[in-house]
Subunit: 318 residues, 2 copies
């Protein structure tokens, strides 16, 4: 890429200094809110800046100060169903501190991940969020060793790297749902869970089981069905099977919105009570943790489970 644009000589810090009759050092101090500048000089410099329409060149600043105020999101699936909400959280957290966010997509390919990491490190990013957009699972370390650049995992987790991994509290979320059903008087709870191979599936079963047990009740194993996919079709099929038993449950908890959608015919669908994944909040936490690390706060291996939220709607209102 070559820049073929010609501009009418961008205003530089030197211009401001000359016009204001000070040194560039002083202009820089004003710009960075250093205390060691006299009030009248500061005033004069600020006026000159706004009169000339001066804007700092972040690239030059970055070269000198060795920090770029830039972090990167490296995802394995830019089109994952949770990607945008997670990214929004990261972007919000970063924006609050005037940090910019670079976006890169590895498609889950370690070779692509390595290439992106190399490019991002060459660009001197201050830190990285390594993220999955669709499924919580363990992963190996970054495809490129990064001894000097902090990073965190988001919606996936490392096995031993000394960094935090930000995850949804699927167990707690399922417990919320089960407790809610108990609270509205249901005792015989059916559970359409996700595919058995997903971590969230086991975590949610744990949550439901423990909640019922704590209430002196028990989860009937024959009322737990595992879908083979997260599709409405599976939700419909399994719910139908459950409700046509001689001893049907008095409430059904589905492990995902799609499963629940299929459980109900569209023309008789009340607004669903839902356990919301805290995606936005997870993104924010990831951003904040990363920025803290960029600022020198030590990191260690830890799994941070962000609580889910129960949204009660008509489907469980009496």
């Amino acid at each position: 890429m070559t820049a073929a644009r010609s501009s009418p000589a961008r205003v530089t810090m030197r211009d401001v200094a000359t016009v204001a009759g000070v040194s560039t050092a002083t202009v820089s101090k004003v710009l960075n809110d250093r205390p060691d500048v006299g009030p009248e000089v500061r005033q004069r410099v600020l006026e000159t800046i706004s009169r000339l329409g001066y804007r700092v060149n972040t690239v030059a600043r970055g070269l000198r100060s060795r920090t770029t105020d830039t972090i990167a999101i490296l995802t394995d699936d830019l089109e994952g169903i949770f990607t945008t909400a997670l990214m929004r959280g990261v972007e919000e957290a970063a924006s609050e501190y005037d940090i910019s966010v670079l976006l890169a997509n590895s498609y889950g390919d370690p070779e692509k991940e390595r290439k992106h990491l190399r490019r991002l490190l060459d660009r001197q990013v201050d830190g990285l969020i390594i993220m999955s957009g669709n499924r919580v699972r363990p992963r190996s370390g970054p495809a490129l060793p990064m001894p000097d650049t902090p990073y965190v995992f988001l919606y996936e987790y490392g096995m031993s790297e000394p960094v935090p991994s930000i995850l949804p509290d699927d167990r707690g979320g399922a417990a919320l749902a089960a407790q809610h059903l108990l609270d509205i008087g249901r005792r015989r709870i059916g559970f359409i869970n996700g595919p058995a191979s997903w971590e969230a599936t086991a975590d949610r079963l744990d949550g439901v089981t423990a909640t019922l047990r704590a209430a002196g009740s028990v989860l009937d194993p024959s009322l737990v069905h595992h879908a083979t996919s997260w599709s409405p079709e599976d939700g419909h099929r399994l719910t139908h099977a459950m409700l046509t038993r001689p001893d049907p449950p008095d409430a059904v908890f589905c492990a995902s919105d799609d499963l629940a959608t299929g459980a109900l015919a569209v023309h008789q669908r009340p607004p669903l009570t839902t356990v919301a994944l805290p995606l936005l909040e997870m993104g924010r936490v990831a951003g904040q943790r990363l920025l803290a690390a960029v600022n020198g706060e030590p990191q260690r291996h830890e799994l941070i489970r962000v609580p889910c939220e129960l949204r009660v709607r008509a489907s469980t209102t009496r």
Copy 2:
């Protein structure tokens, strides 16, 4: 943000030059594949680079060369239903040229847009993609004048700015669907269109009308219903009304997947024949157009309509 990391003195171009016994100018030339370097010197430099593990500092390069190989996506809705597919297209196009992509979210707020633009220009981005994630409509120019930085609109369009706007060809897409229904022998076509206030709604009505007319047929106005939202509920309601008429249509075309989903009960849903929005391709086109402009290619006001694609599935197979 301050960088509190201490690294063991990063390898610099000067180090490579010293070890290889050449000047930094020569190292730079090798790095940038300039022809004016002797083969044995080039070889020696390359070996030294890989031996020392040298990596270019993109920030320093950017300061000197006045180009950052970075573009930005500025969206009004990071969680719009089309956002990720569009972004993926942009990211793919950019990655092919080793261009990095910055992400910013204005939430449709002109003040936030201005702030982001300012920050992005300060960072010396080579160009910008200004994008809507959910709805094609006209918009005013960028919230900050950008005389020196090229940009394009994506999934929204400017009224007069001398830049391209990349849009889906909704009219052509609807025509594809109508023609397909004619091709499989249907003559009396019902049309569940979107809300009347959307541009895509008018464009699609145009497409269907023109296609039927060209086939010597005509679209019965009483078989055109406009939804009040894009929801499955609306799709269900309107389809039901249409099919319970004394003279029902022999095919129904819905203006969105959600409307079509509602049109069918989940347990009897065949795979839907669909007109796919060319979101990925649109993103790619936007990226390519922008990079061309960055390289000095002149821009002008134009609306680029990217063709939709018909995906025939069981719902229209005999």
